[in-house]
Amino acid sequence: MRWLGLMVVVVLALALAVVLGPAHVSLADLTTSDIVRSLRLPRALLAFLVGGSLALAGAGLQALVRNPLADPSLLGLSGGAGLGAVLAIALHLNSPWALPLAAFAGALGAMALVYRLGLVGGAELDPRILILAGVAVGAFTAAVTTALVSLSGAAELRNAFLWLWGGLSGASWDSVLLLCVYAPLPVAVLLAAARPLDLLALGEEPARHLGADVEAVKRRVYLAASLLTAAAVAVSGVIGFVGLVVPHAMRLLWGHRHRPLLPAAFLGGGALLALSDTVARVAVAPRELPVGIVTALIGVPVFVLLLRRWTAS
């Protein structure tokens, strides 16, 4: 019943994203319209994939660091991606794919740095140090980015901040295809970690006694969540809130077991971002809102509603 409901929400979100838009396309023309085929459809799918990736990465990270506030943006990846993007613009890299590639490279650089810092205590990855390292690297890259922008004074670098706040206007079949090829591996790694993540919730020592390879799980989950987030940030900028709240909302509906929780988070995150992007495109048409505003405006009330229902029962 819950799964059916979630699937209905997913299909509805995708259908609305294709049917609604600032340009008028009648239902009869839906399958032949160029706007639908080359802009709306890839954008709806990209929103779904990015939202799903962020929520799944968030669910995995919250379990890994055993902290409900963990969120893909806390890993320092967004800061690294932003620095990469601003450097690409400052250096006038003019290839059509320079911005996403530079952002991806920046995110990977930040990931490597955070991962290395997470190992400072010894051979074991310490989740608490990981989060602190993420925050530190994020703050440092944000400082360098802001310094670059404020020193350059060029209008195009100020516009780079618009990109950083996140949005799906760069969506095309190419970016959808790219994510479809790239995402399955980290997604599969995270889904396969469901059982050990359940054990990890009991604490590292008990999990070890119950037969979980705690070290391997921590590394795998961290790397898979980071790689997934890096790709999401590269194609759509920093979209907040989805990775933080969707896992909690799904936990209220599905409980703490990760076998159902992780796929539910992917579907829920995808639906939320597809829906939010539709609102962002049509609410103030012909203008467009940054999608991150809408994810918070839609997501917070839904979350509060779920929280009330949950605490009442």
Binding site: G21, P22, A23, H24, D34, I35, S38, L39, R40, P42, H92, L93, N94, S95, P96, W97, A98, L99, A154, A155, E156, N159, L162, W163, G167, S169, G170, A171, S172, W173, D174, R281, A285, P286, R287, E288, L289, P290
Partner: protein, 117 residues
């Protein structure tokens, strides 16, 4: 026509701006004249549906190479991009009103005639 000042997200010049006024002076219609703000973020879908005959881009450097976003697949949905009807204006002459406004109008008219004979 439409003034595109940024590509991701697409930012265009609206009505009530200096550039919109210049367009009016040379007899070109800004398809985003109805947007009250000087500049606004819009969807690519809106640009495609308003179907400007040409795009006007401002840039400071006179580098010969067109910006990379014109080769991105989602921008190919815009007719003016597919037909390569792009006009480049120098930022220093067109970005702010001043005593060179008359020069800007003449230059603008010349560029438009080049692009749309």
């Amino acid at each position: 026509m439409a003034f595109v000042v940024w590509d991701n997200p697409p930012v265009v010049i609206g009505g009530g701006s200096y550039l919109d006024e210049l367009a009016g002076l040379v007899g070109a219609a800004n398809v985003f004249h109805d947007i009250a703000a000087a500049s606004a973020t819009v969807g690519l879908e809106t640009i495609v549906s308003r179907d400007p005959d040409l795009l006007v881009l401002l840039r400071d450097s006179a580098t010969a190479e067109p910006p990379g976003f014109l080769r991105r697949p989602e921008w190919r949905a815009v007719r003016a991009v597919r037909q390569a009807r792009i006009v480049y204006l120098s930022g220093s002459l067109f970005a702010r009103p001043g005593p060179r406004a008359a020069e800007a109008v003449a230059e603008f008219r010349r560029r438009l005639e080049e692009a749309m004979p």
